[in-house]
């Protein structure tokens, strides 16, 4: 576990440092719709940009307006403070309106603050639905990205390399699926806080290393004694890389046994087809991946996959959280609440701020009340 925590408790962790010292280059990205495999096959270290550890949003508020999600504001804050100095490149997508504007805000902050713009700065246009012509667009967009990486980093991405990377990442997905199944046990061997830590580490570590520590961890955990007798919570909604949010829930006596967060299970659910052309396979996996409400018109599919998880992980209650101003998750949470409560699954919507703006006292009050509600409906253990 320590290895994982070590990897995520500092932006520029030891593995990244080693990587850099060996002359390796790191490319950051803001959204789960960017295929890591491509960066990996270019010999680059993919790094999922986070907003954690920002102490305030002074710089963020300078460029973003007042009615914007605090996650990209924190990311910009860190960028402005030079905390992402180790990045050789950054890929920004129209994941959502707040996040896509990180593109301009980061660039403009670069006019005012020396040396905060990575040498490689790429806007990756991900469509908002899955059909033949959006697949065509996304394929071209993916090729455009590959071309740009090749020319900027002198990489030579080809089908063989891609297939190799896909195998490696599918291996991760396979391990993480096993890891997930441990959480579905009557008494899971680890907390949700630890689980988030494990998954997060994957966004900040060289994949080869990650797979091996992950494998050890899983075999170790399969024998470990479980944590019994807690209300099993599923955490749903806006991006969350903040262990403390999960800590508050578990501190109040819950156990987060499943999630569908884009810093969580969304990263590894669905495999990439190894038997077709690698680019087509990547496009198919990443664009058909409809867990994020940014993909319009897919609500029913998302509800279904949520229900399946609730069943398989034997969930007692669902916490539907969204960062303030995240309308995509916020209002989809409203639909989830309606449709899940209808089937007797207790839900709580939780609007929160990200990072430095979180106020634990008030969050705790709401979470306690929800857990009490769950306890009352549960047979005494």
């Amino acid at each position: 576990m320590n290895k994982f925590i070590e990897a995520i408790s500092a932006l520029e962790n030891n593995y990244v440092n080693e990587w850099k010292n060996r002359g390796g280059r790191v490319v950051g990205y803001t959204c789960a719709y960017v295929p890591d495999e491509i960066l990996h096959s270019a010999g680059l270290l993919p790094f999922r940009v986070r907003g954690f550890s920002a102490a305030d949003t002074t710089i963020g508020d300078t460029y973003f307006g007042p009615f914007i999600c605090s996650l990209p504001k924190c990311m910009l804050q860190l960028a402005g403070e030079g905390k992402f100095g180790f990045l050789d490149g950054i890929i920004i997508t129209p994941g959502c309106d707040s996040m896509r504007r990180l593109d301009e805000c980061w660039r403009k902050a670069g006019d005012d603050i020396e040396g905060i713009i990575p040498g490689f700065f790429f806007h990756f246009g991900v469509p908002h639905k899955f059909t033949d012509y959006t697949v065509k667009w996304f394929t071209e967009e993916t090729k455009r990205l590959i071309g740009a990486l090749n020319s900027h980093f002198g990489a030579d991405i080809n089908n063989d390399k891609l297939s190799e990377s896909i195998k490696l990442y599918n291996r991760s997905r396979e391990l993480l699926a096993r890891f997930d199944s441990l959480r579905t046990r009557e008494a899971p061997p680890f907390t949700g806080t630890e689980a988030l830590g494990v998954v997060l580490a994957g966004t900040a570590l060289p994949r080869e290393i990650y797979n091996s520590i992950l494998e050890d961890y899983i075999s170790e955990m399969s024998e470990a004694p479980g944590i019994p007798g807690r209300s099993r919570i599923m955490l749903v909604g806006s991006a969350n890389d903040d262990l403390d949010l999960v800590r508050i829930i578990e501190g109040s006596g819950g156990l987060v046994a499943a999630d569908n967060l884009c810093f969580g299970s969304r990263l590894y659910s669905d495999f990439v087809d190894e038997n077709i052309n690698p680019i087509d396979a990547l496009v198919a996996r990443y664009l058909s991946h409809n867990e994020c409400p940014r993909m319009y018109g897919d609500y029913k599919k998302r509800l279904l996959s949520l229900k399946e998880k609730i069943k398989s992980a034997n969930i007692d209650g669902v916490i539907l959280q969204n960062i303030r101003f995240c309308d995509l998750h916020g209002s989809e949470n409203g639909l989830f609440e309606r449709d899940l409560e209808k089937e007797g699954i207790p839900c709580m919507r939780l609007e929160r701020e990200y990072g430095p703006l979180v106020e634990t006292g008030r969050m705790k009050m709401r979470i306690d009340a929800f857990l009490e509600r769950l306890d009352r409906r549960m047979v005494p253990r």
Binding site: I68, S98, P127, H128, D132, Y296, D327, G330, G334, L335
Partner: protein
């Protein structure tokens, strides 16, 4: 939601309000003045519009006609489609579908009612829709979610890739009401072969969807008729725009609103053409007489709004512009991108414009795809604000071409997109020499900041920056 609001359909009531307003002038002047006494709140809308003479009257007519279509759709056996202001309705009319444009109806309510759309805004929370979402859709969709309006058969928008809160409002509605949903998705770039093909394929899929929903094939002749009418409108609009460049501008301040409203409501329909024609008539008279459109007769400054207007009850924004002698050089909503409009010609932006070509079905589909992908907001807010053909380029170009003295931003707190870049835009427009004012109000919800407060700060800006 308050129970009395459930007793009558809101769109039916709104329709009657506008219908009677349109008829006000049919009696004697004395009768007219007397009636005004009985509509204290609505008076403020009726008067300034009626003062515009024929165009005003036709505008009220057109508005009530639009709502009438909605409430009678079922009797006429027609399907209704909830859609957005930045979606050209021509295709709906060509396929006998009645468009229900959420934002335009929100505007009507915000203008007319003392409480604006507050009750329906709040009902959205009740339905589980976020309070932080854009008030322009929330104001009206709330009423349809609550079932106090005409029945909606399908939901069609074109904002994915452009505006999340917009697209999300329609996504929510389709899931909540369990109605079929189609979205045109916009790529980050406007021009180029890739985008053109994407727009075309997307639009073909839309037509297929509409054919499935109506069970009728798209009739080429009907479509041609709509597009010919739309072309006619483009020509009038181009003339109006050309006149708007004259100093002092012969265009009355409210014409900006009339222009975009009629296009959003009845693009490709005679109802729209009529309003535009009578606008052109008065504007031309003004131009010939060298008379400014401002009632005060003196144009102190010219203002360009780089986003939308403020719809606070009783056209208070327009009344203020009149009072202060500020000519209205239009906003992002009133700028259409037909190949013949001045700003396309002057800047050689044919590639970013659309061409009406009715020679074949394919050419007509390309035309429609072109029109939609170049609708206000859809065109210029999709990519980075400083990319070619996007917000900054358009704003600076239009400000220059219409010799504006200041640039004003007004939107809604729900607008992640522009609030994510407006500070950057303002920096650049200021650097380009345009004093730029950012309003922190909500165009559709006075509870955020009262119009009085908004106006006071704006006037202070004009003074402190030595503009007036």
């Amino acid at each position: 939601m308050r129970k009395e609001l459930r007793e009558y359909n809101f769109d039916w009531m709104l329709c009657n309000a506008f219908a009677s307003a349109a008829r006000l002038k049919s009696g004697t002047e004395k009768e007219y003045l007397n009636t005004l006494k009985y509509i204290p709140y609505f008076k403020g809308v009726v008067e300034p519009i009626m003062e515009c003479g024929e165009p005003g009257r036709k505008f009220l007519d057109m508005s009530s006609k639009y709502l009438e279509n909605i409430i009678n759709a079922k009797e006429r056996g027609l399907k209704t489609a909830a859609t957005t202001f930045c979606f050209s309705p021509a295709i709906f009319y060509a396929m006998d579908i009645i468009p229900v444009g959420l934002e335009v109806i929100s505007v009507m309510m915000t203008f007319t009612y003392k409480r604006g759309t507050a009750d329906f805004l709040d009902f959205c929370n009740e339905a589980g829709f976020t309070e932080t979402s854009c008030s322009s859709q929330r104001g009206t969709i709330g009423a349809y979610l609550a079932g106090v309006g005409a029945e909606i058969d399908m939901i069609v928008t074109d904002s994915p890739g452009v505006c999340d809160t917009n697209a999300n409002a329609f996504a929510f509605a389709s899931a909540y009401l369990d109605k079929p949903f189609f979205q045109l998705d916009m790529p980050p770039d406007l021009t180029g072969a890739r985008s053109n093909e994407y727009h075309r394929e997307d639009y073909k899929a839309l037509i297929k969807f509409l054919e499935e929903q109506t069970g009728k094939k798209l009739e080429i002749e009907k479509l041609k008729a709509r597009l010919d009418e739309l072309h006619k409108q483009d020509i009038i609009i181009a003339e109006l725009e050309e006149m708007a460049r004259i100093i002092p501008s012969p265009i009355p301040v409210t014409y900006n609103l009339f222009l975009y409203a009629s296009r959003f409501l009845f693009a490709g329909m005679p109802e729209c053409t009529e309003v535009l024609e009578s606008m052109l008539k008065t504007a031309t008279e003004n131009a010939v007489m060298k008379r400014p459109g401002l009632k005060g007769g003196q144009e102190k400054i010219r203002a360009f709004f780089c986003y939308i207007d403020h719809y606070a009850q009783n056209l208070q924004l327009w009344q203020m512009l009149e009072r202060e002698g500020i000519s209205y050089c239009g906003n992002i909503l009133s700028r259409l991108w037909a190949e013949n409009v001045p700003h396309v010609k002057v800047y050689g932006k044919e590639e970013a414009a659309y061409r009406v070509d009715t020679s074949s079905l394919d050419s007509m589909i390309d035309t429609l795809a072109g029109i939609n992908s170049r609708m206000p907001m859809i065109k210029s807010i999709r990519g980075p604000y400083d990319a070619p053909n996007m917000w900054l380029e358009d704003t600076l170009a239009l400000a220059k071409m219409y010799s504006t003295d200041i640039i004003v931003y007004n939107g809604t707190p729900g607008c992640r997109n522009t609030w994510g870049m407006v500070k950057l835009l303002a920096r650049d427009t200021e650097a380009a020499g345009y004093p730029t004012y950012i309003m922190y109000s909500d165009a559709f919800d006075e509870r955020v900041q009262s119009w009085e407060a908004t106006e006071e700060r704006f006037l202070e800006f004009l003074k402190v920056r030595r503009i007036i």
